[in-house]
Symmetry: C2
Subunit: 406 residues, 2 copies
């Protein structure tokens, strides 16, 4: 169960995007593990991928295909990452693209492949190919929720979100889905996300909007500090909405549509942290008044990655000494220890680098008992701030990751 | 129980070092929590301290006293870190030094204070001072093991080690003790260590030897990546052995005595990891053929800190994909993915950046079932290597850190 519970997804269809799913037997459980996106002809596609140097075969291939032509299909499997397999992995991904291309009558370079699951096991190509026809046969604009389920691995719930805005009487929609729970950290993680809008947007602008949205959402979450070999976020614009094309940031509609995309990305990123492996609490680390953007992020991540801080949150223990110690070891140029203040929600626990005189353990306990906690760290050294989302470290994190694969 | 079990400490006395202990009631358990070292007059003392910017009051004071004069006493309490308390913490530490100085007839600057335990709770000065007389009354050369126990916090066993060498018919001895289990990472952690030798060594040389020994021992271990506010390692040379003073690295005895000190430091550092909070396995990450020392260390630490890698070791799961993914996200300039090989002990699991053809899960399983595991990562990019010691991440890590304080 994710922090904050679940509610059924109400995802709006995006004209120009059809989705099919199939149970190909790649995942060890009997459920859909194959997802196919079909994109209308004029769709523009932007994507960002993992920075991990051991990127998976499908990442290499998807990047290549995206640089060659405009994609018409996204082919996603869960249950196997097709990573760490060298040339054999590339060939396997290529074969899947080829088979799909044959089935739908397009070129294999118009297919972007994605995989998520166990690293280092050969991709069961035959099984995957065996599921393609079902995925094609089930293509429908209504399958966003099914896709949100089919891309899951250790996720405990599907993640999706829609936002609509009204542009001069025309409703324009953004719908996105995502998967990911462990291995989440900046520069993305075992995380896949697919976001589409019917707004007509030029490719250059689409790429810029994706970067802006990802930087403040998927790149600001962390569960365990690990980064995956397979991460990808794809933003698609089908141009099916009956409005004039968007191709300049000066267009007043730019910020409206960017906001909608950002909201969807932020919602999905937060949903991933809420579903963090074993998470019982959602923790927002907000660093304020830092000397630089780097310092603000560095302090926020050092606190967010500290296993001692994370276990204290799991135990609802207002052990602010652990937060203090994490701030103190952050790799920043200068820290004015005597300026640092720390708040748990509205409760001041550290003022001017030491325990706040008015602080009581009861206040701290009350703040820690909440399911969603804001940790505000004020450095009083400058004007920069950064916010990072994370979760606590529980028995179940160890359990899930010790048992995954078995 | 530490990895590898325990055996009773056989610690040799060091002429010129007397140790007393007392149960002052600072720790929540009824056991010795106060330790006093008394050093003979001609003793030289070198020390290294935490780099955490929120260093504890006793660290600030010990550094100051050490810069002013030659210490005659070390005063160590467990159960309270006296950290995060601002001026009040400094005053508390000063008061303790003053009271001891009065009791033994020396100046307060000749006392080095040390604390370890909970951060942010006021040091119970009265209790500590109340225990001083007992500590003084029990001073004896034979109390090394008692001291090893009295400095413990979440440690499950005391840690100590002696090495003797024969210099032209005279036996020279090095004895050291240490405490620490969680919060262990480079630049030290909630870690205290006291090492003494009867060898006459100049202060300048002693400082150099301590630095060399610490760099390859205490600075190469990691349990959870956190660094404490209170860490310190102290090296003392009493000059009581009847040999000529050592004051130059060119002296052929230099490398002999340095080796003995290094062995003691390495043994203690390894003992800390073996006793890592919740540890069930000792893991040695050895990175070879890196382009630079920085790269070798960075890769080793990225793997050693990965919660996914650490839980896989706990589960005895040969999930080499997690090791690969950790290497891939290490912050190094260049990684030739196709050159990387990974070995678990003698079992090759990854060759040239991909799963080794001759590797079987059975081999991996067998390697993972061991209590002590060597992970060898060969980058084939240069001549630098680095070794880091760590342990696995278990249910008990979470349990211990969720319950500490309560």
């Amino acid at each position: 169960m994710p922090v904050g519970g679940t509610s059924p997804l109400e995802l709006k269809a995006i004209s120009g995007v059809r989705i099919g799913t199939a149970s190909a037997g790649i995942s060890q459980t009997h459920r859909d593990d194959l997802t196919l996106f079909e994109l209308a002809e004029q769709t523009r596609v932007a994507a960002v991928f993992t920075n991990n140097k051991f990127c998976a075969a499908p990442v290499t291939l998807a990047k290549k295909h995206l640089s060659l032509t405009t994609p018409r299909y996204l082919l996603i499997n869960s249950g196997n990452a097709n990573a760490g397999l060298g040339d054999a992995g590339i060939q396997a991904a290529q074969l899947c693209c080829n088979e799909l291309a044959k089935a739908v009558g397009f070129k294999e370079t118009q297919v972007l492949p994605f995989s998520t699951g166990v690293i280092g096991e050969p991709l069961p190509v035959e099984k995957l190919v065996g599921g393609l026809q079902t995925a094609v046969d089930t293509l429908s604009e209504k399958n966003w929720s099914k896709a949100a389920q089919a891309i899951m691995t250790t996720d405990t719930c599907e993640k999706g979100c829609s936002r609509s805005i009204n542009l001069e009487g025309v409703e324009v929609t953004v719908t996105g889905i995502a998967k990911g729970s462990g291995m989440i950290k900046p520069d993305m993680a075992t995380m896949l996300s697919y976001i589409a809008t019917d707004m007509p947007i030029s490719k250059a602008l689409l790429e810029q909007m994706l970067k802006e949205a990802v930087d403040l959402s998927f790149n600001r979450i962390t569960v365990d500090g690990d980064t995956s070999t397979n991460d990808a976020v794809v933003l698609m614009a089908t141009a099916m909405a009956d409005v004039a094309p968007l191709d300049a940031t000066a267009d007043p509609r730019y910020s409206l549509i960017l906001s909608a995309i950002q909201e969807v990305c932020y919602f999905l990123a937060e949903a991933i942290v809420r579903d963090g492996e074993g998470a019982t609490k959602l923790i927002k680390i907000q660093v304020e008044q830092a000397q630089s953007q780097h310092d603000a992020k560095e302090v926020a991540y050092t606190v967010a990655h500290s296993p001692l801080v994370k276990t204290a949150f799991f135990a609802s223990d207002p052990n602010w000494g652990r937060i203090l110690a994490a701030i103190g070891r952050a790799d920043i140029e200068r820290l004015d220890v005597e300026n640092v203040s720390i708040y748990l929600a509205d409760t001041c626990i550290v003022k001017n680098g030491q325990r706040y005189a008015g602080y009581t353990e009861e206040q701290g306990q009350q703040a820690m008992n909440q399911e969603e906690i804001l940790v505000r760290i004020c450095l009083a050294q400058g004007d920069y701030s950064a916010t990072v989302l994370t979760c606590d470290l529980s028995y179940d994190y160890v359990k899930i990751n010790a048992e995954y694969r078995s």
